[in-house]
Symmetry: C2
Subunit: 317 residues, 2 copies
């Protein structure tokens, strides 16, 4: 017996996987496509900022000795981040899918198991890859979305009701595993491996700032991640920031909206992964542009149909 996931309320929710159990990110197959698009598109904002901060301008071939860890590096957002930031910094990726050739430095994380298992695996992987060096940024780009199981489906009798209870509980637990526990693991290894003045960045969800009917497990897991980030940020010598898009522009999310791309205004509000990657790049490069530690930053996208436009980053709290 299978249960249909409720369709997502319009323009709500973030991210990647609603289908596979326990994956930190799952849309790695779209990586090359997105990566290509981004490389070909000129980026005036970035060039501009580089010319302002001349001292920090670098040949793309000459990397700094900074190290950036990306959790969920094989998802749409994570791979865009890795691609964009690898121009200047050494990227260490981590995800639950098998390694491919795109990164030399990659930690394969366990898909199941306890938070301690996940955290220890990450700890050992970092230790092995960077040795005595420190990380300058940890970005938690992993996450997944699933809507509530439709309760009407479980109204056909005791067996169906039990199946409903089981499925619904499973969604709630899975959401916590993909959206909250990687944040915890990242913060714990961050305490050990990060330089003072480093950055710890998570991806939250602006939808979870209010009740989230239709996706109660997702919203609660993001609310937990927000609280964790706000507390962690108040307590540590690194700058910890939560980036909260309304909905990411990914193939899966576009398919979920299921409208007419050309005549549907909702698509212009989708936040492109590269817009987040560029902002994070600025923050790593320029400490004075960073939001204060412990803050949540909403991302509002205003993209035009010709592909131009931008995203604004507003402090929530």
């Amino acid at each position: 017996m299978s249960f249909v996931m409720k369709s997502m309320p319009s323009s709500l929710a973030v991210a990647a996987s609603a289908t596979s159990t326990g994956q930190i990110s799952s849309l790695q197959t779209f990586h090359s496509l997105l990566g290509q698009q981004h490389r070909q598109r000129p980026n005036p904002h970035r060039t501009n900022l580089r010319s302002i901060h001349n001292g920090q301008h670098r040949d793309l071939k000459t990397k700094s000795n900074k190290h950036v860890l990306i959790l969920g590096s094989r998802g749409v957002l994570g791979s865009t981040l890795a691609d964009h930031l690898s121009d200047e910094w050494n990227i260490l990726g981590a995800d639950v899918v098998p390694s491919q050739d795109s990164f030399n430095d990659y930690i394969r994380l366990p898909q199941h198991g306890s938070v301690a298992d996940l955290s220890l695996c990450l700890y050992r992987g970092i230790s092995q890859h960077i040795g005595d060096k420190k990380l300058d940024a940890i970005i938690c780009a992993s996450g997944g979305w699933a809507g509530d199981v439709d309760p009407d489906i479980g109204s056909g009798g005791e067996e169906e009701e039990e199946e409903y209870v089981k499925e619904a509980a499973g969604v709630v637990e899975r959401m916590m595993r993909v959206n909250y526990y990687p944040v915890v693991a990242g913060s714990l290894v961050g305490q050990k491996f990060m330089n003072r003045g480093g950055m710890f960045i998570i991806i939250g969800a602006s939808a979870a700032l209010s009740p989230t009917p239709g996706m109660i497990g997702y919203g609660s897991s993001k609310a937990a991640a927000h609280h964790y980030l706000q507390t962690f940020g108040a307590d540590t010598p690194v700058t910890s920031v939560g980036i909260l898009p309304l909905m990411l522009d990914t193939p899966a999310n576009r398919a979920m909206l299921a409208g007419d791309d050309d005549n549907d205004d909702r698509y212009t509000k989708l936040v492109k992964p590269i817009q987040i990657a560029q902002e994070i790049g600025e923050w790593i490069r320029n400490p004075h542009l960073r939001p204060h530690s412990g803050s949540l930053v909403k991302v509002i996208a205003k993209n035009r149909k010709d592909g131009s436009g931008g995203a604004a980053f507003h402090l929530v709290r």
Copy 2:
């Protein structure tokens, strides 16, 4: 190797167990003591309200046919609730500890396992005990507190660091298991077994309305529970309310404050379990006194040293 839990910030945090892994509630040994105290103390407020609502006055021996499920029924709060509410209603208790004789109707819950396991066990237990009847209230009184593991302890070398990461991750996961997942299980069975017009009540924590340094796992689990309650309350035909004390008056919490009871003002702010039990009793008895569904209600206690005083219930949001 053992880790010391950080001492709790003054007058923060709620509830029961900081010591035993995975228990929904663990202070059942204090039950009879607390129960005795409450039975012997006159309760003018309750008497008063009963005389106002004469139509609902009942001989204590004659119960209504209403059924109330208490999750965490063997903890300090849960047992106080069971004791107080059993005067008028049929109580079905549920907890992870073995059954004793105090309730005929008791569901033994699994201490470990998935949220689905917990929810299914609860579903089957209710089904077995009440058959075709419905529940009029579900109260989730389970929960536990643990502070952060002290990060300084893990600074002695790689082995100690790994132990720190493991312990800290374990605390975070355990907090989610005791403070969030029972709320999920209760809500899922509530959808199937509750009367329209019933109440679903959880115990949150007013500390978790702001960042919670020193208890990041605890605060995040309560933030998740708050979000879940607010969303669930907006979406269902039952009245769902979160009660948020600052700190419960339990032997464990008194021991944690470790002050001088007689000359320490913090003790007067501890919320007595019976104060919560009385308020919930009023809500079950009188639907017009209930807060609106999806609301979080802060409890502020002002108890005098002679044992008199009271608790005020303020709407947070």
